[in-house]
């Protein structure tokens, strides 16, 4: 079902409902939540006029404001799209489609309606005269022009101003859809303040969206529909035109929050080509130094004991116990992995059931008989392992020396500080560390850091703040953050250290995957990474160097908008 037909019916019904004065039936105690004016057949009260009356009499308008609060709090700007008679008029007179104002002008003009709203009340409060009634376009349409045609009129400056304004506006309405609603409507401005919190909202299911952008073409108020995933736009009049044209059924109006399946839409996917595109590799002058450890190692050499955040189910059918790769045996020790090693000679039933002829591995439901290195899941684990081997734990002796408590060594018996140099670097490969972050959190002096590449540790982590946020971190569901970093960067080292500390304070709920953006440009491009370090948290990502508070806020926000 489309929204257009019921919307039109409701708009026409509203016109009848607010014109029953023609039959002598009036409900002037009802203040309508849309643009209105008094005319011979009117049956309800104009909200702006009533509020101004109270203001002139210096009385707090409890009752009319209460009605507007309730209506706007529940329905937001839906009245603009579904009930406003002047909105209906605008829908009808929008003849010349495909013409619009430049974006910068549009963005500025959208603020004008708030100025109009304030001016109306300020003027009436100061002068006691309702100036807006002199130019109200709805009043011109239903009251002034009919009266001028039927009774006649005297030409004065207000009449000239009124007609000039109306016909200029009409010209604008012919070309720009809902020109009045977008830029000038004071009632719309008032309602838009509630759009962000009203339960009735426009939702977008990114998993269904194919980015055809048809919705952007038809939106009467030119809302960037893709933004509704993250925030509720105040300009949206909830008309549902975008949902009507969406062939995928990705858009709709709802009173309840809908869960979406896809977590992240890259900016590129949402808006088309990037404004600052990643340059082609031939233009990149800054070459990443050749990595000594990059040459492929036999998978059997990889130890996976230190891996964090890997989940999955592996069933390995083997013919000979000697051919089991050592890492598979090690993976049995990981609590979040289910690894079953099955001897084919002993499990004939299973072998017959799966019709197995040779050594076979089931990795997360996929049957795999070729080299394990080609499997993405195993490949990921190996990558993670190599990344861990490149990290180092660094101790700042300047901060360590005055320390008497030696908390870092208390929490982890593997730590041994020699104080032989000002900066002590301990590569994780040298001792059995998997970057749990406990020593970082334990050192109140901030003397322990986790670095990638050169030991650049010219930063201070606000651990006390992070600790104060621990309760909030413990509330979130387990999640995996992706940190895009580069080598030898003090900012990246800060973020890595911060993530390790966050992971510890969250008691392992917050895990993180470190991705070298220069080594994996494809992944960086997928996530639209233009700045390093960048932390991707669900569908959000950081801009600039994140602070402790901002990262925790992002984690909590991502939790609220979780998959």
């Amino acid at each position: 079902m489309t929204y257009k037909a019921p919307r039109r019916i409701l708009q026409i019904l509203t016109i009848f409902a607010v014109s029953t004065g023609a039959f002598g039936v009036t409900f002037y105690y009802v203040v309508v939540p849309f643009l209105y004016a008094h005319y011979p057949y009117s049956s309800v009260s104009d909200p702006l006029r009533i509020l101004q009356f109270y203001l002139i009499e210096r009385i707090i308008p409890w009752y009319p404001l209460g009605i507007l609060f309730v209506a706007f709090a529940i329905f937001g700007r839906a009245f603009c799209g579904w009930a406003c008679p002047f909105g209906f008029f605008q829908d009808i007179v929008h003849v010349f489609r495909g013409i619009d104002l430049p974006e910068s002008l549009h963005n500025i003009l959208t603020k004008v309606k708030f100025l109009v709203l304030i001016s109306i009340f300020a003027l009436s409060y100061q002068t006691g005269i309702l100036y807006f009634d002199r130019v109200n376009p709805f009043a011109t349409l239903v009251s002034a022009i009919p009266r001028m045609l039927l009774v006649g009129f005297t030409v004065d400056r207000w009449v000239i101003l009124r007609l000039t304004f109306f016909f200029l506006l009409l010209t604008g309405l012919l070309f720009v859809h809902r020109f009045w609603c977008r830029y000038l409507c004071p009632v719309g401005a008032l309602a838009s303040l509630f759009n962000k919190v009203s339960p009735l909202h426009l939702y977008l299911d990114p998993s269904l969206c194919n980015r055809c952008k048809e919705c952007l073409e038809v939106c009467p108020t030119r809302v960037n529909i893709f933004n509704v995933v993250r925030t509720r736009p105040i300009e949206c009049i909830l008309c549902g035109d975008c949902a009507d044209v969406c062939s995928q059924g990705a858009l709709g109006l709802s009173f309840t929050e809908r869960e979406t399946k896809e977590g992240y839409i890259s900016k590129e996917e949402a808006y088309g080509p990037l404004r600052y595109p990643v340059p082609p590799s031939e233009f990149v002058t800054r070459e990443y130094p050749p990595e000594r450890e990059r040459e492929k190692r036999p998978i059997s050499e990889v130890s996976l004991r230190k891996l964090r955040g890997i989940r999955g189910r592996i069933i390995y059918f083997y013919e000979n116990e000697k051919e089991i790769p050592p890492f598979l045996t090690e993976m049995q020790k990981l609590p979040n992995l289910q690894v079953w090693l099955v001897d084919m000679r002993e499990s004939v039933n299973l072998v017959q059931h799966y019709q197995l002829e040779r050594t076979t591995v089931f990795v997360n439901g996929r049957i795999y008989t070729g080299p394990l290195e080609e499997d993405p899941f195993v490949g990921y684990m190996v990558k993670e392992y190599f990344m861990l081997r490149r990290l180092s734990l660094v101790f700042d002796a300047a901060k360590c020396r005055p320390c008497r408590t030696r908390d870092c060594t208390t929490v982890c018996e593997q730590i041994d500080i020699t104080h032989e140099s000002r900066i002590e670097v301990h590569p994780l490969a040298e001792f059995d560390c998997f970057a749990c972050g406990e020593c970082i959190a334990a050192c109140k002096r901030g003397g322990v850091s986790l670095v990638y590449g050169e030991p650049k540790i010219d930063f201070n982590l606000n651990l006390a703040h992070l600790e104060s946020l621990q309760d909030k971190l413990l509330e979130v569901e387990p999640m995996m953050l992706k940190a895009f970093v580069e080598r030898d960067s003090v900012h990246c080292n800060k973020v890595i250290t911060m993530l390790a500390a966050i992971s510890f304070f969250s008691k392992g709920r917050i895990n993180f995957e470190l991705i070298d953006a220069l080594e994996e440009p494809e992944r960086a491009k997928t996530y639209d990474i233009t700045f390093l370090p960048t932390v991707v948290v669900g569908r959000f990502k950081t801009l600039g160097i994140p602070t402790e508070g901002s990262l925790v806020l992002l984690i909590r926000r991502s939790e609220r908008w979780k998959l």
Binding site: I50, A73, N136
Partner: protein, 137 residues
């Protein structure tokens, strides 16, 4: 943020309740019925004159409402004439009216009497209806 709307609905509900307690439903109903001269680009060339007995509570209220009406619609409010003042009778003579009740409202257009009422309880409705009809609003 999820339930902020509920808080706003409650605030709105409280507003409505306070408004009802302060008789704002009736006020809003009266205000809504006022003729809108500016909406129709018409000139409110009327004058309202009120004759009232002194020390009459109903009449005082009606005078205040007539003043509200004139102030908010832009109609000229002539004056309030009390029965204990000499000038009240001279004004009545001038208009050619007789007054034998507690309260009398006179609507004038171009100096001539358009209509009158002695009902102090529905003074706003009388003024609204009279002026709407006379101005074809």
């Amino acid at each position: 943020m999820k339930y902020v709307w509920l808080l706003l609905v409650i605030i709105g509900g409280v507003g409505i309740f306070l408004g009802v307690e302060r008789f704002q439903v009736e006020n809003t109903e009266n205000f809504g019925g006022y003729p809108c001269f500016l909406c129709a680009s018409a000139e409110p060339d009327f004058e309202v004159v009120v004759f009232s007995k002194a020390a009459c509570l109903n009449c005082e209220n009606a005078v205040r409402r007539a003043q509200w009406f004139c102030r908010l619609t832009g109609v000229t409010y002539g004056n309030t004439f009390y029965d204990d003042a000499e000038e009240s009778f001279s004004k009545l003579d001038e208009l050619g009216l007789m007054w034998d009740s507690d309260f009398l409202v006179v609507v004038l257009k171009d100096g001539a009497v358009l209509d009158t009422t002695t009902d102090a309880t529905a003074v706003e409705q009388f003024l609204s209806e009279t002026m709407k009809e006379a101005s074809q609003l």
